[in-house]
Symmetry: C2
Subunit: 148 residues, 2 copies
Amino acid sequence: MENIRELFQVMTRRFGLLNKNCCSIDVVDISLVQSHILYEIDKREHPSMQQVAEALGMDITTFSRQIQNLVKKGLVKKTPLPEDRRVYTLSLTTEGKFIATTIDREINRYLDEVFSHMTEFEKETVIRSIKLLNECMAKSSVCCKPLF
Amino acid sequence: MENIRELFQVMTRRFGLLNKNCCSIDVVDISLVQSHILYEIDKREHPSMQQVAEALGMDITTFSRQIQNLVKKGLVKKTPLPEDRRVYTLSLTTEGKFIATTIDREINRYLDEVFSHMTEFEKETVIRSIKLLNECMAKSSVCCKPLF
DNA sequence: AATTAATAGTTGTATTTTGCAAATAAAATT
DNA sequence: AATTTTATTTGCAAAATACAACTATTAATT
């Protein structure tokens, strides 16, 4: 039996580098963490700071400063929540949305290319496998509780 | 069809957090990048600085300083290569090896737990899928050339 | 052989990122 | 009304990063 961790390590490193590369294309030029933040805000509906920071496994203070940077860059908007004025709600500006979309398109373009080396059946199998993996990781109680 | 990038993002983020958590268990307490460096040195046979830095997609100057730290901590040994005295060969000390092994065991323990939520057949399928994925990513010319 | 170019790694320096502790400010609980 | 909890921000000091310039060694060119 092959080393399973090794397989994961190679895969995630490749995907990580892809993510990194896709941050500095064209007009877009942000850091990897910033791109992850944009992604996460885009995915959710007006999440709070806490929620996004926790999802990314980031310290809230570091996160707070990163958000300040993104607000300064005009990519993120911070809106106070009327019901609870301690909380700030995050959303993407038009430009932030544009950048998130550009990065997303670029990454999907790469993934398409990768899957083009497979048969349709293999592709289906791989995708189903990753889904299953994610479900099982979510079930696991040992470690890593990012509530997807 | 589901969003493929999303699946990857969730999976790699979970695995990334796992990696991070496993750096600070018991006696072990190193940073995530340092653990990646240890892993990569352990995997190869006396790699050069360049090789490891490139594999990790790190700037060589940053890498150089990280190695200095790891040498100071007594986890890594730097040996000049006799045939080419510009080159340094990297290896783990006994303690470095111990730490790398501890982390590896911990991560595999988690992965076992994750796979325990599947049937044997599913597990086989998932592992074969990741292998296939790695092969196809290696084939791809678009992006991310870390030569595993 | 002497000179030049290329390669491997290090250091100077300035910027960015990080995270703990402490602060603020607004709920929620007593 | 007083206390506690929660969400976020700042002070600060340490760590990580990367560009440019450097040293040392080997390879290539003349």
